[in-house]
Symmetry: C2
Subunit: 250 residues, 2 copies
DNA sequence: TGGTTTCTTAACCGATTGATTAATTCTTTC
DNA sequence: GAAAGAATTAATCAATCGGTTAAGAAACCA
C-alpha cells in the first residue's frame, strides 16, 4: 500500500479521441493527463484554493477519477505535477529576465510585475507550493522535489538580481532570503486579501485596474525600499534590531 | 435547519468543575466555551492551518464535540468567535500605538513589528480571517461581521497613521488600501513560507533570531519605501503604471 | 423538596473524501 | 484477426467530515 512511485504510463502512443463524451470540447489535442492537470488548475483558480476533490475533478473534466491514480499514483502526485508544470514556466521567465540588458532596477520592476501577473493567472500556485511543502504532509519526497526544482532556483536568481543591483550601485545589500519572503508575500496577498478590496473597487474580484495599481505600489515600495540612494531626509535613524518587544499590532 | 443564531447560553452561572476527566488540567478557571476556543487556536497554531475537525477538537480539549453546537451554533460560529476574540486584541494594540507620542516613522516601525509578532503568537489569525471572508462560504453574515469589527477599523487606523506621516513630512502619500495589503502580506508570509527558511536557519520553524531579522527587514523596506526623502540617487525614473505586460515572473 | 434551566454526554446520521479493484474498451503489433 | 498492452470505466471500500438527537447530570430557584 501507499504507492510511492508509479510506473510511467508511457505517454508516447497517439492520443485517443474523445469519443462520444466531448464535454466542454476545448481540448486542442486530447490528452487525459494534461486535461486532468488543466481542470485541476482551473478549479483551483476559480475558488482561489487548492482543495479539489477527485469527484469534482472527474465531473469537470469528463474523465474518470481513477485516472488520477493511473497517471499520477495518487492525488498528491497530481498536485506535484501541476506545481512543477506551472513553476517551471515562472522559473523560465525569471531566467530570461535576468539575462536581458536592463538596469537592475528595471529588472526588479519587471520581476515584481511578473510575479503579480503570474499569481493573477495562477492564483493557486503559491498556496499549492505551501501545501506541498507542508511538513505535516506524508510525502516529503515531493517537498524535496519542489524545493530543488523551484524554490532553490528562484532564490538563486533573486540573489543574482540583488547582486547585480549592488554592483551597479543601485541597491543596498539585502539578504536574499528575507527579500524572497517579503516580496512573494506582498505580491501573493493581493489575491488572499480580496475581501478588503470590496471597499476599494466595487467588486471583490481583482480588477485589471486594481492589479495595475497594486503592481505600481509594490514596485514603488520595494524599489525605494532597497535603493542605495544617499540616506537623507527627516527619516530613519536605522535603529532596526531591538524594536520587537514593544507592544502593538494591527 | 442551518441555525443562524443561537440563544446565548447565559454564561453567568458558576463554572462547573471538570469532574473525573480533567485531561490536560491546564485550565486556570474551567470554562468549556473558552476552552474550546483555546484548543482550537492551539491546534491551528501548531499546524499553521485552520482545518480543525470537531473530533480533533473534542479529543484535545477533553470535551464533547456537541458542545460546539451548544455554544456556537456550529463550527463556523466557533471560528468566528475565535477570530473576533483574537482580532479584538490586535485592534486594541494598534489603537493604543496610534495615541502614543511618537514620530509617525517610529509608529510605523512598531506597527510592523507588532503585526509580525502577533502573527507569530497566532499564526492562524490571518488565514482564519481569509477563510471566514471567503465568498464561497455560506454564512456571509460572519464575513460582514468580521469586516465591520476588524478589517474596517484596521484600515481606518492605518489611514490615520499614514496621514500623520504625510502631515509630519515623513511619508509620501500612499493609498491606504494598497499599503494594508502589501504590509500584511509581507508580514504574514514569514509564516507561510517557513519551508524556504530551512536553508536560512537550520530548522523549518521560525526561530526568534530569524523573526527579529525579518522584522528589521520589513521595517527597512517599508520605512524607506514610503519615506518622503528628496528623491535622489541613481534610481527610479518613477515610471510605474504601464510596467505590467512586460514578460517575466519568478 | 421538587421543578426548571443550564450544561454535558454517547450514539448516530447522511454526505463526502481519497483510494482500490476488476472488468472493459481502445490501440498497437504481429 | 488474434494476442498484447495501454487506457478508461463503474462500482465499491473504509475513514472521516460536520451536524443532530435524546437523554442524563449538575446547578439554580422556588
Amino acid at each position: 500500500m501507499n504507492p510511492r512511485r508509479v510506473r510511467k504510463p508511457a505517454a508516447r502512443r497517439a492520443p485517443r479521441r474523445a469519443g462520444r463524451i466531448a464535454k466542454m470540447a476545448q481540448a486542442p489535442d486530447f490528452n487525459a493527463r494534461e486535461r486532468l492537470l488543466d481542470t485541476a488548475g482551473q478549479l483551483m483558480g476559480d475558488r482561489h484554493a487548492t482543495d479539489v476533490s477527485l469527484s469534482e475533478l472527474a465531473e469537470h473534466s469528463g474523465l474518470n477519477s481513477a485516472l488520477v491514480k493511473y497517471y499520477f499514483g495518487n492525488k498528491d502526485g497530481l498536485l506535484l505535477a501541476l506545481a512543477e508544470r506551472d513553476g517551471a514556466v515562472a522559473l523560465r521567465d525569471l531566467q530570461q529576465l535576468l539575462q536581458q540588458d536592463l538596469s537592475p532596477t528595471e529588472k526588479l520592476r519587471r520581476h515584481i510585475g511578473g510575479i503579480i501577473n503570474n499569481f493573477y493567472r495562477r492564483p493557486y500556485l503559491n498556496r499549492l507550493l505551501h501545501s506541498l511543502l507542508d511538513s505535516r504532509r506524508a510525502d516529503s519526497a515531493a517537498a524535496r522535489q519542489i524545493t530543488k526544482t523551484f524554490i532553490d532556483p528562484v532564490l538563486e536568481l533573486q540573489r543574482e538580481l540583488l547582486d547585480q543591483g549592488v554592483r551597479a550601485g543601485e541597491f543596498r545589500s539585502i539578504e536574499p532570503m528575507l527579500f524572497y519572503v517579503s516580496v512573494l508575500g506582498a505580491c501573493d496577498h493581493l489575491f488572499n486579501a480580496r475581501y478588503a478590496l470590496q471597499h476599494f473597487s466595487g467588486r471583490s474580484t481583482v480588477s485589471d485596474a486594481v492589479r495595475e495599481r497594486y503592481v505600481a505600489h509594490v514596485i514603488d515600495i520595494f524599489v525605494n525600499g532597497i535603493s542605495a540612494r544617499p540616506r537623507g531626509g527627516a527619516v530613519a535613524d536605522r535603529r532596526t534590531g531591538k524594536s520587537v518587544q514593544h507592544s502593538s499590532k494591527g
